[in-house]
Symmetry: C2
Subunit: 244 residues, 2 copies
DNA sequence: CGAGTAGTTGATTGTATTCAAAAATAGTGG
DNA sequence: CCACTATTTTTGAATACAATCAACTACTCG
């Protein structure tokens, strides 16, 4: 073991490619500009032209879109190790906003440095393409949930997915996990009203499946919840490096 | 002009990177295995481990997920020039299915050849990452639509987006476009029942906004429709090559 | 011409939303 | 430590939107 642990981001990419010394060096060079952001203050705003992306080191962020009528749809959450704003850089303007849910720590990556890194190390580009695909798979699953699951199954599925993601980085288990989200976050994520979120949570609690309270999600009947949500974690699984 | 036109795929990538002769050669090598598929016969099935991706040359395809209870959610449509199954290759199993809507023509790309191509030409990897980002932006917009737009706005937005995409490849205009989809496709795309799709289409028709009939979408009041859908095509725009 | 597919409509049921307001909780400054 | 404010959570009642059930029409294909 080295004295300094790899960043969660590098740990995540390593699940897909075995990174060489020189690739690690290129990655390390991307990791210079450490930044912090306060909870609630948007890091990137929808419509803004984006020259920088971020790699999240600590804390939770959500990415969302605001509609002209003011309705908000949260698209995804980022937890440590997740990339943030890659799409904004490639498409040159951000089609969505990023809001830190809590105070966070992130590494700033300039568009130019990122494209340079891709040019130097194609395997790194492939690895990041893999990570982007995994994120897209989550968005797709989210889409399916909103389109074709009822409110209860949707909520159950969301909590299970979040639990699985956090378990991968050691921040949760089948017992539960700490969760800084409010019921408004859940509503804007699941396409429900905050009031209805509250009712659905009560039902899940009354059926002794899961409790969401005081910043903590506690699974009481994990298997029952999996059954209700028809949760199949296949799309999250990492089956070992594809690129040796 | 050359005797043979570039494939729509190459035309699309060129919007992002200026491709060199050697990069075009690598792309050409990917374009060998031409295949055809009959309408309705799934090309790739959910859960199947995937070693091949496709580049669509002609026809329409939809990608969808089936839920354990039988409900179907269409995630996206592919039109000529679109990549198909990239995610399946990188994640090694397909989390969704592909169904040709009409008889189609596609180029088969082996996982191995694709990863090789990335290793040889990092700019190509970046270009494909760009295309994937653009696709993801559409999925995200779709998610927002299902989560936060009512049935009418959802339908209007979908038809406008499809029109814009087709206009980019010369297959539609602000007058309308030919469309082989059934109302069942629309229902499974928008998260509605087929019956409700029918009602919504009738309302749009009665308000003289748009007609969907006989395999043809006709815009009668394009601006009115844009207003109803709050359609902002920014996420589809291509503002010229980022990589020179 | 019958069978099948796609589209159309009405009536009814149910789910989720909205509006309104009270109760619990967290944070702040005196 | 307590009063005060702002969030967040909880509940009730009325309403709106979309689903389901059940026919019925139009069109295509063998």
């Amino acid at each position: 073991m080295t004295g300094e642990a790899h960043s969660p981001f590098i740990r995540k990419l390593s699940a897909f490619v075995v990174l060489s010394e020189s690739e690690l060096a290129v990655l390390a060079r991307l990791h210079r500009r450490r930044r912090t952001f306060a909870a609630g203050q948007d890091m990137v705003h929808q419509g803004q032209s984006a020259q920088t992306a971020y790699i999240l080191s600590a804390g939770w962020v959500c990415s969302y879109k605001i509609q002209p009528d003011g309705a908000r749809q949260i698209v995804d959450f980022q937890v440590p190790g997740d990339f943030l704003g890659l799409r904004s850089v490639l498409l040159r303007t951000s089609d969505h906003s990023f809001e830190p849910i809590v105070d966070i720590e992130a590494v700033e990556v300039l568009a130019h440095d990122l494209l340079d890194a891709f040019a130097q190390t194609p395997r790194l580009a492939t690895a990041i393409l893999w990570a982007a695909s995994r994120d897209e798979a989550m968005v797709v699953e989210h889409l399916v949930g909103i389109g074709r699951r009822d409110a209860g199954a949707r909520m159950a599925h969301f909590l299970l997915e979040l639990g699985s993601r956090l378990a991968l980085v050691g921040m949760g288990s089948k017992k539960g996990f700490d969760c800084p989200l409010t019921q408004y976050h859940l509503a804007d994520t699941l396409g429900l009203s905050a009031v209805h979120v509250n009712r659905v949570l009560r039902q899940l609690r009354e059926h002794a499946l899961v409790t969401f309270r005081n910043g903590r999600v506690s699974f009481h009947d994990y298997e029952g919840l999996v059954k209700l949500a028809e949760f199949d974690p296949a799309y999250l699984d990492q089956a070992g490096p594809l690129l040796k």
